[in-house]
Every structure is written in structure tokens, then in C-alpha cells.
Amino acid sequence: MIEPSVTEFSTILLFIIGAIVFVTVGLFAARIIRPSKPNYEKLTTYESGEDTIGNAWGQFNMRFYVVALIFLLFEVEIIYLFPWSVVFGDKNLVEGTDGAWGWFAITEMFVFIVVLALGLAYAWAKGYLDWVRPQQKQTDFKSKIPASAYNKYKS
């Protein structure tokens, strides 16, 4: 069992608190030094000089979302890999079971990883990993002019 050592974690806490204090103090110091003369022009949202239209909080590319999902999948996988990775090759355990433990643990995790890899393959094959998916738009407009006439000028 991994026993968390409280004092070790207090060091970490010190780092965190220290960082926060540092930034806060810095901000406070800067506040004393810096000017504060806001005006409307200054406070507008920067859009390369154009006036902002609408809100930024709209919809964005769905693919970001898919990436997040796949990330989640693997990140969670890694949660399981970490505890496993420190015991599967434990010298004493492996030697105590004539290697059975190691092979068992490896097989188990292989199955797990392969299933997840299958998930990745699925997403891949279904095209969710392609950032720019070619989308052929078939128009249902029926023109009197034959298509070949267009193609002639297209090229």
C-alpha cells in the first residue's frame, strides 16, 4: 500500500500556496505602480481593430469535442495503467509465482489496452480523427444546362 506521507504533501501545499502568494503579491505590487486609466476604446475586445460583432461564446468546431472525448478515454486508461505498472513487474511477486503473476497481469492489461486501442481504431476508421473531413455537397438543383457544359469552364 502506498502510504501518503503527510509531511511530503505539506511541501507540495507550500509550493501551491507559495505560488499563489507570489502572484498575489506581484499583482498587488503592480497595482501600486501601474496606472489605471480605462476608457471605452481601451476596454473593447480586440479583434484586429474591427468592431466586435456578437458574442464569442457561440458554437465551435465539434471536432474539438471529439478530441476531448478520446482524450478522456485514454486519460482514464492511464489512471489504471499507473497502479498496474508498479506492481505487474514486481520482482518478488513475479518470482514468487514462477512468472505467472507477471504474465497474468500483462495479459490482463493487454486485453484492456487492446480494447481501448480498438476504440481509437473505431474513431479513426469512422473518420472522427480527420480534422478536415471532405464533405461532398450534392446539390439537388437541376439545371437545364448539361453538367458537361459547366465542367468545360470549370477546368
Binding site: Q59, Y65, L69, E75, V76
Partner: protein, 100 residues
Amino acid sequence: MPLNFVLFLGALLFCAGLYTVITKKNTIMVLVGVELMLNAANVNLVAFSRFDAVGIQGQVFALFVITVAAAEAAIGLALVVKVYQHFQTANIDEINELKG
């Protein structure tokens, strides 16, 4: 650290989560509330795990909970996106076409 503190933290998180789930109208906030509740349970599980005579079942449980929470959140957000596409809102009160 006394166990009570941790349990109290858990209870607090749980109540906060439950409160969020019940009062918030935005679906995403509700999901956030659910996550809070799950983590309340995790806090408890890990805390109790120290007193586990057999092993670290609580910690193992917490790992699984994290996973499941992730899956749930993933699907939850996917659904929210879908709902948003259809309803242009994520407000749970405005999504009420199904009535009997």
C-alpha cells in the same frame, strides 16, 4: 488528520453537489453538481479506505468511480451538445417537449 474532517468535507461536497443538481437549470451545471457528489463519495471512500482491514478497496473503488464519472460526463456533454443543436438552449426547464 482526523477522519471527521474528511467525512465532513465529503458531506459538504455532497450537499453542495445535491444543491447544485436540484437548483441549477443549466444542464452543464447539473452535471457539475453530479461530479461534486461523485467526488464526495470518493473522498469518503478514500478516507474509509485507511481503516479497511482487508486492503485498499476504497481507493480502488475511487479509481473506478473516476472512470465511470468520466464516461458519464463524456456522454452527458455529448447529449448536451445534441440538445443544444436541437433546442438552442441547455436550460433543463426549456427542454420539455415530452409530456404525457
